[in-house]
């Protein structure tokens, strides 16, 4: 895959390029979690964070130990966990909506003293 991308882009791809990309994605995800108001938008940001992590894992795996595919295996686990988490998260958002008739995060402050 790496060789394929190298050929398309025409430059030598190093590990650091992938790490920067995953880092940027991670930051965008965090920004989204912190600044969005809509619950589903927060959930999407969390997905972004998870994907950033995935890229990170796989990059490390293919550059440092290309023979052992530990990173890729871990990546599969993360995908599964992400999927399950989205399912559960959406279920919670649905029930919150039923209760509060709103998905604005500023209205969900029952835990306030």
């Amino acid at each position: 895959m790496v060789i394929g991308m190298q050929w398309q882009l025409g430059i030598d791809l190093k590990l650091v390029h992938f790490l920067v990309v995953s880092g940027v994605l991670f930051c965008i995800g965090i920004f989204g979690v912190l600044s969005r108001r809509h619950l589903v938008q927060i959930l999407m940001s969390i997905e972004l964070i998870l994907n950033a992590v995935l890229i990170n894992l796989i990059a490390f795996s293919s550059f440092t130990t290309p023979d052992e595919v530990i990173g890729q295996m871990f990546a599969v686990f993360v995908i599964v966990v992400a999927a399950a988490e989205v399912g559960v998260g959406l279920a919670i958002i649905l029930s919150v909506y039923r209760r509060k008739k709103s998905v604005d995060i500023d209205n969900i402050n029952i835990l306030k003293w």
């Binding site: 965090i30 979690v33 912190l34 600044s35 995060i105 500023d106 969900i108 402050n109 029952i110 835990l111 306030k112 003293w113």
Partner: protein, 645 residues
């Protein structure tokens, strides 16, 4: 076989315990057991005398208490003197036990009487057998206790319980002196055994003044116990006790304990002429003093009580002038005939129902045995020739005469005259003459009471022969009881014997003339000596003196102390209580204010901090998320910096 001697004081102790525990319901058991015990002791005493005669003196010792070099031994000493005393005590005690079986019959505390008699006998025997001063003192106190118990036997009567207290307190006064003497003795000599003390005295290592001081103090005890002037006041009142008690304790044995003490300490006393002088003076004075009071007494037991005091005075002054043998010999004979006289008077009182001789008369017709034994006793006491009292009293007076103590001899002879006079006054008034109303109903006492009288009468006659001058020296009582001491032997002197016998006979004659044949009217002497008579009747006002000088100040002092106790001591105690209450109030304030304050503050602050911390819970989810990530970012930066630096 010498170990048997332990049983002499031990058997009555066992008897005492058994009758005390078991005799409560059964009077006959108590009386029979104790009489049998005394009988056995009597036989053992005869055996003891035999042993001392054949083997000489012996003693048994056991170590009682040891610390380092300080050792106290307890033991028994059997020498001539203690063997003789054993004989006297057991004989009289046995006879009194027999007599009491009849006299105390029907008494509600019949059994207890014998319990106390046993205790007394045990203590008295322990006293005479002791081989050191400490043991003797222990038994001395015990006999004092028994005297108190027995005088106050009929304690429901106030006069009896008062008399018991008086006896105990007065003898206590003497005992204080004696105790100080014993302490001095112990600190100077280092031991209290007779052999140790006399040995040290012989060696001359004690200063003369110390010996004088010790002996005078010991003599104080004797003054109290043997009712010498001025501590004689308890004995007449002690007549409140039952007559057998008077016979045993206050005639024959306990009062003789003081004489025994002086006799036993004779080696010590003879080193100090001053003490001997004091002893002689007090003895002589007491003898005539008491005899003079006896002359005007109307209670039969009081006459005998004063007579006892007087005769004890004889024994004491005999010891004071150095007539050791004569004095102790007189103790023995006196025990027999005085006990006889008391028991006889008990018979009379029992029969006539009164103690006042003015209400009696002509009893010879109804009570032959009592009368004639009483007369034998009185004759013996008066020193009638060939009876026991003659030998012993004459020996005393003879000794006085031949040693140049003519004043003492004269006083002694005059006292003998008075003695004979008052005894026969008693006899003529009580037994002869017109029968009074009380005498009409009287009858002779039962055998259990008359047999002791007969036994004692026989003894009152023959006991004197133990000390008769014509007896071979090795059997003579003088040799027997002298032991190691060199005591002056009395020569048989004609002149003093004649004078004293004459004095006695004159006394009898005068009594006969005044009370028997009524030739001289009974108030003949009275007219001469009217004021003096009043003094005599009031016993020289000694009791009033004691009351004014001693009892009232003592009561005032006691009241003063009582007030002190109430105001000051109780005041202090109350103050202490108040202070405690004040302190507790302060502590209470502290507890409420400080401790509770802290606890409440803690609670308040917790609440307040909770109020403030609550504000953290905004419920704002994005806020939570920001905080989480911020911290995470800081941590990562920190890690990076750490690995770089």
């Amino acid at each position: 076989m010498t170990q048997l001697i332990w049983f002499i004081p031990l058997l009555p102790v066992i008897g005492f315990v058994i009758t005390l525990l078991l005799g409560g319901k059964n009077g006959r058991f108590s009386s029979r057991l104790s009489t049998v015990v005394m009988g056995i002791c009597l036989l053992l005493s005869f055996y003891a005398v035999y042993l001392v005669y054949t083997r000489g003196e012996f003693s048994i010792e056991r170590v009682w208490y040891v610390t380092g070099s300080f050792k106290i031994t307890m033991g028994l000493l059997a020498d001539g003197l203690s063997a003789m005393m054993l004989l006297v005590v057991t004989l009289v005690s046995f006879v009194v036990h027999l007599y009491s079986m009849g006299y105390m019959h029907g008494d509600r505390r019949y059994w207890l009487f014998f319990v106390e008699l046993q205790l007394f006998s045990a203590s008295m025997l322990g006293l005479v057998l002791a081989h050191n001063y400490l043991q003797m003192f222990i038994c001395w106190e015990l006999v004092g206790l028994c005297s108190y118990l027995l005088i106050g036997f009929w304690y429901e009567q106030k006069s009896a319980s008062d008399a018991a207290k008086k006896a105990f307190l007065v003898t206590r006064v003497g005992d204080v002196g004696m105790l100080i003497g014993l302490l001095l003795l112990f600190t100077t000599v280092g031991t209290l055994t007779y052999s140790g003390v006399f040995g040290t005295a012989e060696a001359g290592t004690i200063s003369h003044n110390m010996i004088t001081a010790i002996t005078i103090l010991l003599f104080c005890g004797a003054i109290g116990k043997s009712a010498q002037f001025p501590l004689h006041v308890w004995l007449p009142d002690a007549m409140e006790g039952p007559t057998p008690v008077s016979a045993l304790i206050h005639a024959a044995t306990m009062v003789a304990a003081g004489v025994y003490l002086v006799g036993r300490s004779f080696p010590l006393f003879s080193h100090s002429e001053q003490t001997m002088m004091v002893v002689a003076i007090i003895g002589t004075f007491t003898a005539i003093f008491a005899a003079s009071i006896a002359v005007v007494q109307t209670d039969i037991k009081r006459v005998l009580a004063y007579s006892t005091i007087s005769q004890l005075g004889y024994m004491i002054f005999a010891l004071g002038i150095g007539a050791y043998v004569a004095g102790m010999f007189h103790l023995m004979t006196h025990a027999f005939f005085k006990a006889l006289l008391f028991l006889g008077s008990g018979s009379v009182i029992h029969a006539a129902g009164t103690q006042d001789i003015r209400e009696m008369g002509g009893l010879v017709k109804k009570m032959k045995t009592t009368t004639w034994t009483f007369i034998i006793g009185a004759l013996s006491l008066s020193g009638f020739p060939l009876l026991a009292g003659f030998w012993s009293k004459d020996e005393i007076l003879g000794f006085a005469f031949s040693n140049g103590r003519y004043v003492i001899f004269a006083v002694g002879a005059f006292t003998a005259f008075l003695t004979a006079f008052y005894m026969f006054r008693l006899i003529f008034v009580v037994f002869f003459g017109k029968m009074s109303k009380a005498s009409e109903h009287s009858h002779e006492s039962p055998k259990v009471m008359t047999i002791p009288l007969i036994i004692l009468a026989v003894l009152a006659v023959i006991a004197g022969y133990w000390g008769a001058p014509f007896l071979a020296e090795k059997y003579h009582i003088g040799e027997f009881i002298s032991g190691h001491m060199h005591v002056e032997h009395v020569e048989f002197d004609f002149i003093p014997m004649v004078i004293s016998v004459a004095a006695g006979l004159l006394g009898i004659l005068l009594a006969y003339l005044m009370y028997g044949a009524k030739v001289i009217p009974t108030d003949w002497l009275y007219r001469f000596v009217k004021p003096y008579h009043k003094v005599l009747v009031n016993k020289y006002y000694m009791d009033e003196l004691g009351s004014r000088a001693i009892i009232r100040p003592a009561i005032k002092f006691a009241n003063g102390i009582n007030i002190f106790d109430k105001k000051i001591i109780d005041g202090l105690v109350n103050l202490f209580g108040k202070v405690t209450v004040a302190i507790s109030k302060a502590v209470h304030i502290f507890d409420l204010g400080v401790v509770d304050g802290i606890v409440n503050w803690t609670g308040r602050e917790t609440f307040n901090s909770g109020k403030r911390l609550r504000l953290l819970q905004t419920g704002n989810i994005s806020g939570y998320a920001i905080v989480m990530f911020a911290v995470l970012a800081v941590y990562i930066i920190y890690l990076i910096i750490r690995t770089i630096v």
